[in-house]
Every structure is written in structure tokens, then in C-alpha cells.
């Protein structure tokens, strides 16, 4: 489903008209394509309370960024990275203004603002209040940025995952992630041998892989080097086979909601793989009805597919010898799980439930050879499903985010692939929104 409005306002005439009458002007987002440099221009690096740490500079240059420390008059940068981990009192926050004000002015289209902070830790009220303030600054700034630029916040508790996080957030892979905080904690996060193939040698399973977001995830995992098992219902087998053949993976007919799905999955893994490294719980259905009209079967089927299947499969995997150490599990939630949506009490239950699942099982996965489990909450993504929405509803929904457009399945897939990568080992039990900073339920 092409976004005609987006295309229109990016034409010379459309752009002129839209700006005069004050219509939203969504930008064509910078999305990653193979071989792209990390950034299309230099990255301005700064720090509150002193010089930027050498380690951070090294990570940035190692990722391929051209780092500059000052921004001359009229100069432009593709990214502004501010290490604000030292802030301890409200007065320290002025340094953010000092850095960000000129940086935002010099930010190229599709620029990236990345702030590094430290999580409040309960030791000092003043320090905690100041640290938390970063969240408000980044979220507000994200809403101010235009032309496809984004702002995100990394709570760096441990630098093990910082390299991979910088690569994700500065690149086109994070195009639709905006205004989001992520905690980088302790964890095992080895650098891959080849950053272009971070998943080389890994076996990944994606449920609901026949179309839409699942197919995109399978594609990105394969691009990044994983051997992908694309799973979906038998009924979806025709398109599933095409997906598997396109990406050089294999197709598995599996109804995740079936009672025997966990043992069948374990059998398949035991027979066909050397254990599973990456599991993407993407299979999901909607059976929308207002609560007053909700039938038991509409309620039950959504619960069974979207939530119960994930619980049962995770349990089975953790209790088996089929889940490799440093495994990565990513569960698809939704902004509906965070903000609710009319007519989706059943769907909302499962998508919020997945968040509970992820938070509650993070420790168990960490114990399983430093594995992780995280959730992705997509916002409004253009898929076959949303293409069926009435035009007006879809158009309004598309503009209701800071980026003023819908995301694409690839945006969800890129975020999933980052969380599934070895380098994201310090991210566990978290929910990452891929929603263009959707204005609903933020």
C-alpha cells in the first residue's frame, strides 16, 4: 500500500502547497539498504560535564561514523550524540540545551539525536529527578524534530551492548523508532565477526512468517546471516513456501495455538537443527468486536494464538535442550497493548499480556546461558491488514505520529533483528516501540 500523500508532499508542488496551508509534511525516511554507510554525514559528539569518553568515540568511529566535536556556522551533521550520563542536578541539564539547540539546527534530514543517560537508582532524589528529566527532554525533542529526524534515549547501565545499539539507532535501521528509551544493562553481548552478517551461524524461527511483518522479519534475519525457519499455518503454506524460497530458509507448517505445537516444534528442532538461537513470536490474529458484542470464540482464539502459544512454547523451550545459550526471543506486542484500542479488548489483552510475559520471564532467560527476551510494540504499520481499513481512518492513523506516516514491516523487522543480534545481549525484558512516536498512548 503506497502512501500517496507522502509521495505528494515530497514532490516540489505538493511540498509548496502543504507548507503554505500547514498540512503535515511527512518525510521520506532514510531506511537501511545493504552497503549503506552508518550515517550519510558526520556525527556531532558531546558530553555533559567534560569531554566525551574515549570509549564512546571509539565505538562511534568503529561503527563507521565520522565524529566531529564542534559544529561550525552553517555546518550540517547527520547525527548528534550526547553523553549525558554525568547529570546529577537540574542545573546540569542546561548542558543539554547548550549542545542540542545548535545541533538540532544543524541536523540533516533524517538526522539522529541520541542521548545517553543513566537510570535513576534510588540513591539520591536530586540525581534521580535529574536523570529522569532526560526522558522528558528526548520525548519532547522527538516531537519537535522534522524531516524524518528522530531522537532516542539510551539508558546505559553497562556498555557491553552500546556498540550494537549505536549501530542500530544511528543507521537507517531505526527509521521508525522515535522518542523511545532503551535500557542497556549487563549481559553477554559479543561483537560479531562480520557486522554485515551479525546473525551468521544462527538458527532462527519466525512464526506467522507467510506475510506482512513476519515475512519481513524472516527476510531481515536471513539478510543478516541467520538460517531461518519460516513457520505459519498450513493454510498459509503457498505464500510461506515463497517466503522460505526467497530467503533461502525452510518452511514449517505449524499452528502455534495447537495443543501439540510445543512438542512438534521441539521435535522439528531436534531433527533439523543444532538448536534454536533466535525465536520470533510474531504469529497473531485479530477478531475485533466491541466488548458488548464479543463472542467467546472471538475472545478465546485471539488469546490462544497471540498469548497462550507464546507462554507454552517458551516454557517448552526453556525446559528442553533445544534452546541454545545466548538465545534471543522477541515477542510481537503492539501499541494497542500499551494504549488500548476500541474494539480490541481481546487483542489488547494479549498484547499487554506479552509485555507482562517478557518482563516476567527475563530473569529465566538470562539464567538460560545469558539469553534475552524482549517485546516489540509496532504502531501503525502499512500491511495487508491495515490496507483493508477505510481510507479516511487509515489516512488519519498514518499522520498521528511524530513522523507523520505509517511504518513499514521492514521497520519492525530491523528492530527485531537488532534485539535478536548477539550485540543486544544487554537488552532484556524490555518493550521497544516501533511507532514513529505515535501520539496515542505514548
Amino acid at each position: 500500500m503506497s502512501d500517496r500523500y507522502l509521495n505528494l508532499v515530497n514532490s516540489p508542488l505538493g511540498s509548496a502547497v502543504a507548507s503554505r496551508v500547514g498540512l503535515p509534511q511527512p518525510a521520506k525516511l532514510r531506511r537501511y539498504a545493504g552497503g549503506d554507510p552508518l550515517l550519510p554525514g558526520p556525527a556531532l559528539l558531546g558530553a555533559t560535564g567534560g569531554k566525551p569518553a574515549a570509549a564512546l568515540r571509539k565505538l562511534l568511529t568503529g561503527a563507521g561514523a565520522e565524529v566531529v566535536d564542534t559544529l561550525g556556522e552553517g555546518e550540517r551533521v547527520a547525527a548528534a550524540v550526547l553523553d549525558a550520563r554525568s547529570v546529577a542536578a537540574p542545573a546540569d541539564l542546561g548542558a543539554l540545551r547548550d549542545f542540542l539547540a545548535p545541533a538540532v539546527k544543524g541536523l540533516q534530514a533524517n538526522g539522529r539525536v541520541l542521548v545517553l543517560g543513566r537510570l535513576p537508582d534510588g540513591k539520591s532524589v536530586t540525581a534521580d529527578a535529574t536523570r529522569q528529566a532526560l526522558d522528558g527532554i528526548v520525548r519532547s525533542l522527538a516531537k519537535e524534530l522534522r524531516r524524518g529526524a528522530t531522537a532516542n534515549l539510551l539508558w546505559v547501565e553497562n556498555e557491553a551492548s552500546l556498540g550494537a545499539a549505536l549501530r542500530f539507532f544511528l543507521s537507517g535501521k531505526s527509521a521508525y523508532v522515535d522518542g523511545q528509551p532503551v535500557v542497556l544493562g549487563a549481559g553477554t553481548a559479543p561483537d560479531p565477526t562480520d557486522w554485515d552478517q551479525p546473525l551468521a551461524g544462527k538458527t532462527a524461527l519466525v512464526t506467522g512468517a507467510a506475510r506482512g511483518i513476519g515475512a519481513a522479519i524472516a527476510g531481515v534475519l536471513a539478510r543478516d546471516g541467520a538460517k531461518v525457519i519460516a513457520a505459519d499455518l498450513t493454510q498459509a503454506g503457498e505464500t510461506l513456501a515463497k517466503v522460505a524460497n526467497r530467503l533461502g530458509g525452510s518452511a514449517l507448517h505449524l499452528d502455534v495455538a495447537a495443543a501439540d505445537a510445543p512438542p512438534r516444534l521441539l521435535d522439528h528442532l531436534a531433527a533439523h537443527t543444532d538448536g534454536l538461537d533466535i525465536l520470533i513470536h510474531n504469529a497473531g490474529i485479530t477478531r475485533d468486536k466491541l466488548m458488548a458484542n464479543m463472542k467467546p470464540e472471538q475472545w478465546d482464539s485471539v488469546l490462544a494464538v497471540n498469548l497462550e502459544s507464546q507462554l507454552r512454547i517458551n516454557d517448552a523451550l526453556l525446559g528442553s535442550d533445544q534452546l541454545n545459550p545466548q538465545a534471543r526471543v522477541v515477542c510481537l506486542s503492539s501499541t494497542t497493548g500499551l494504549s488500548g484500542n476500541r474494539g480490541q479488548t481481546n487483542y489488547g489483552a494479549t498484547k499487554a499480556g506479552v509485555i507482562g510475559l517478557v518482563r516476567s520471564s527475563a530473569a529465566a532467560f538470562a539464567k538460560h546461558g545469558a539469553s534475552t527476551i524482549n517485546a516489540i510494540a509496532p504502531g501503525f504499520i502499512d500491511t495487508e491488514m491495515t490496507a483493508k481499513m477505510p481510507l479516511a481512518t487509515r489516512e488519519v492513523a498514518r499522520r498521528l505520529s511524530s513522523l507523520q506516516q505509517a511504518g513499514l514491516p521492514i521497520d519492525v523487522a530491523e528492530a527485531t533483528a537488532w534485539l535478536a543480534s548477539p550485540g543486544a545481549g544487554g537488552v532484556n525484558g524490555q518493550v521497544l516501540r516501533v511507532c514513529g512516536q505515535n501520539l496515542v498512548g505514548a
Binding site: 498459509a236 533461502g248 525452510s250 514449517l252
Partner: protein
């Protein structure tokens, strides 16, 4: 000569569709390519160079002289995978399995696909035989005058096309009419036929419901189950149908559209390999191909009862069992292709007939009884349908999976074919 075992790794087929149904516009090449691609997807064989692909179709366009090779070229297999066509009527799918398995056993190839496809919807229609003669003569003519003279012989009635018919060239009788004789001669009742048909539907429906076919099938053109399958089939419902074949026998006619297979479109493929190849590709083995035997009967001149068109498996079976020193009791599953319910029942009767087995099969007595609890336990052609050349692949893959799920055992396959032929084979796990 040293031989090794040929492993059956798995299979893939598209759901079978009734003639002129969902696959009406799909060609044999379309269906075979889709079936190969489904197999490639299931086992991750993209760009893999296999030892060979052997497949065939019974109803074939002349342009499809290289049907299998063309399908391979259109599939996601490596274009360096050789292929050839085989045609042995309804025995095609099993015969290709035998060919590929033999080459693996001999060490000539490491892997291969045996397949079959048939469409009765996209059937080849040829020009009228008289017209063909005229056109060929015109083609041979050396001058314009001679060509025009030849073409002047075209007559309106020659424009009626020649449509393939499901009949035996030497008798002019359809397969159903042949079977109707056999059914009566062997005293097969209407009730027994309807019971077998109902069981076939019920067994196949149950197999689908418990997910048995999940890794045997890839949906095609919107169809995800065999279109012919009637889960609610019953002896009562089947009993209401009027006879379709053997109407000349009047009240004795017992063969209906319900206890005969319908014309069907579909394709099936089986992946075979050496143990080494399977292990290298991290693909588990379902079962092994053991042995096979093919027989033929003189249905044109032979005995009306004992040399029926579809009776050849009756003769092939004792030879196969003797060679392998096995009896029916040594098998866990027995798959007899249900061309017609009457075919299966006449075959079973013949093997239980002491006199017949002594006289015609050279045995000391009856070959034996097949335990009905082992027969076509997941349904067969009456329910699934029967795209001629695809049936062998359907049965081989399904039986291999049954043996694997059973934790081991032996399985027997029996397939009758046009031309008075029959192919039988043994699998074990």
C-alpha cells in the same frame, strides 16, 4: 555389487482438486513446479543440485516432451539438476520412486526427487486424426501447388478435435467399465464398496484434523485440503448414489461416483537420498525404500475374472513377498491405491482365494488376508482423489511418515495402472 539403502526424507504435494475445479487453468508444468518448490521450501533445498528429478504425467501435451526438466528449470532447485520424464500410467509416481531409489542404492546418485503430476482439466486436445494426416501431407509437399492440393482435402468434420478419453486403446472400454466386470466377477457387493469409500473419507479427514498432512502438503491456488474429501461421508449417503459404471449389468451394477475415484488434478513429489546426504543436510530420514515389483496381465485376451485390467498387483505381490521372505503379517501398514473400491476388494479377495492363488500365482494356497485395520489407515484415492501420475508420490510420502511416526515397521504399497499393469513396493523404517 555393493548397495546401500535409499532413504525417504519426505514429500510434498499440492492438495488434489476435482477436474475443472480450482486448478482448471493450471498446467502440468505449473503444478509440478509448485510441488517441487514446496518441497524445496520444506527442506531448504534452494539452489541445491540434486542427483536427478524423475517425474511424469499420464495426460501430457506434446509440448511437454521435457516436462520434468522444464519444471526443474522453473523451480528453486539448481538449474544443474538433471531430470527426465517417465510414464507408466497410474504407476508413474511409484515407478519414479523405484528408479531414483535404485540409483541411490547403486551409489550413482546421492539424492533425487520422484514425482508425478496430472491434470484432467488442462488436458491436451489434439487435432482430428484425419486433419493431422492432411496437415502432415501438406507439410511434406514440395511445391505450392502440391501443398494446396493437400490442403484441399480438409473437410468440416475434420475440425472436430481429438479429446483424450479415459479408455483402453485395445478394448475401447473405459477403466470403470473394465473394473465393473472385475467387480462383478469377484462378487464384490455394493455395501462393501461403500464401506471402503466411507472409511477412506473418514480416515483422511481424521488425518487432516490431527495435522498428519501438515508436512506433506503445500496449499495451491487457495486449496489447502483435497477438494474431493467429504469428512461427513457415510455408507448411508454413499448408498443413495446411482451406478456410474457397469450399467449394462442392470441391477447388478454397484459402482457409483462415490466408490470410484473422480478425475482429479494434482501433483506429488518425494525426496529420496543416501543416509550420508540426508545427514549432511541435517534432514531426518522417515523410512527406507526396500524393494519393488511390477507385473502385467493380458486383460485383452486373458480370463474375464482373473486377468482384469486392474488386477496386475495381485500377481506382483507374491513375487515381491517371496523375494523378501515376508507375508502380510509382517507389515504394519498396507496401502492399496483405491482406483475403485471394487479394485481394492477384488484384489483382497483374490489373495484370499486358495484355488486362484494355487493356479495363477503358483502358491501352495491363499496368499493371505490383509488386516483391514492396517489398510489405508489415513485414507486413499477415493477420498483424496487420483491425479494419475501423482498417486504414487502421495502414497510413498504418506506411508514413510506413518512408519516414522510409528517408531518403525514395514509398509506395503500396491498400485494398479492402465494397460493391465501393477506396481508394488515395500518401505521400512
Amino acid at each position: 555389487m555393493n548397495t546401500r539403502r535409499a532413504a525417504i526424507v519426505g514429500g510434498n504435494r499440492i492438495p488434489f482438486a476435482r477436474s475443472n475445479g480450482p486448478y482448471a487453468h493450471a498446467s502440468n508444468q505449473d503444478m509440478l513446479t509448485a510441488t517441487l518448490d514446496g518441497l524445496v521450501a520444506r527442506f531448504g533445498l534452494q539452489n541445491e543440485r540434486l542427483g536427478e528429478v524423475a517425474a511424469g504425467a499420464v495426460l501430457k501435451h506434446s509440448r511437454d516432451f521435457n516436462l520434468t526438466r522444464e519444471s526443474v528449470l522453473g523451480s528453486r532447485l539448481s538449474a544443474e539438476t538433471p531430470a527426465y520424464d517417465v510414464q507408466q500410467a497410474c504407476g508413474t509416481g511409484l515407478e519414479t520412486t523405484i528408479l531414483v531409489a535404485n540409483k541411490i542404492e547403486l551409489g550413482q546418485i546421492e539424492s533425487g526427487v520422484a514425482a508425478g503430476v496430472d491434470t484432467t482439466s488442462d488436458a491436451p486436445i489434439a487435432v482430428n486424426e484425419d486433419l493431422r494426416a492432411v496437415l502432415l501431407e501438406a507439410n511434406r509437399a514440395k511445391s505450392v501447388g502440391a501443398r494446396l492440393k493437400a490442403l484441399a482435402k480438409i473437410r468440416p468434420q475434420q475440425l472436430v478435435p481429438s479429446i483424450p478419453v479415459n479408455s483402453e486403446p485395445r478394448t475401447g472400454m473405459s477403466m470403470g467399465e473394465h473394473q465393473a466386470i472385475t467387480t462383478i466377477e469377484w462378487g464384490i457387493t455394493r455395501e462393501a464398496q461403500d464401506e471402503l469409500a466411507a472409511a477412506s473419507h473418514q480416515h483422511l479427514a481424521a488425518a487432516y484434523d490431527r495435522g498428519f498432512l501438515d508436512d506433506l502438503i503445500t496449499p495451491y491456488l487457495g486449496l489447502s485440503r483435497d477438494q474431493n474429501l467429504r469428512a461427513d461421508s457415510s455408507v448411508e449417503k454413499l448408498g443413495k448414489l446411482s451406478p456410474a459404471f457397469g450399467k449394462a449389468f442392470g441391477d447388478e451394477a454397484t459402482m457409483t461416483a462415490g466408490n470410484s475415484t473422480p478425475l482429479t488434478d494434482g501433483a506429488a513429489a518425494v525426496l529420496l537420498a543416501s543416509d550420508e546426504w540426508a545427514a549432511q543436510h541435517k534432514l531426518p530420514v522417515l523410512a527406507y525404500f526396500v524393494d519393488a515389483e511390477t507385473a502385467a496381465v493380458d486383460y485383452v485376451h486373458g480370463d474375464r475374472k482373473e486377468d482384469g485390467l486392474l488386477m496386475a498387483p495381485v500377481y506382483a505381490m507374491p513375487r515381491l513377498l517371496q523375494r523378501n521372505k515376508l507375508s502380510f503379517d509382517d507389515f504394519d501398514f498396507i496401502e492399496i491405491h483405491e482406483a475403485f473400491a471394487g479394485t481394492v476388494l477384488a484384489t483382497l479377495n483374490a489373495w484370499e482365494d486358495d484355488d486362484f492363488c494355487r493356479r495363477r500365482l503358483g502358491l501352495d494356497g491363499a496368499l493371505g488376508s490383509v488386516d483391514r485395520a492396517k489398510l489405508n489407515v489415513n485414507g486413499s484415492s477415493l477420498a483424496a482423489g487420483h491425479p494419475f501420475a501423482a498417486t504414487g508420490g502421495r502414497i510413498v510420502a504418506s506411508l514413510a511418515k506413518m512408519l516414522h511416526d510409528n517408531g518403525g515397521g514395514r509398509g506395503l504399497i500396491s498400485i494398479c495402472a492402465a494397460g493391465g499393469q501393477g506396481v508394488v513396493a515395500i518401505l521400512e523404517a
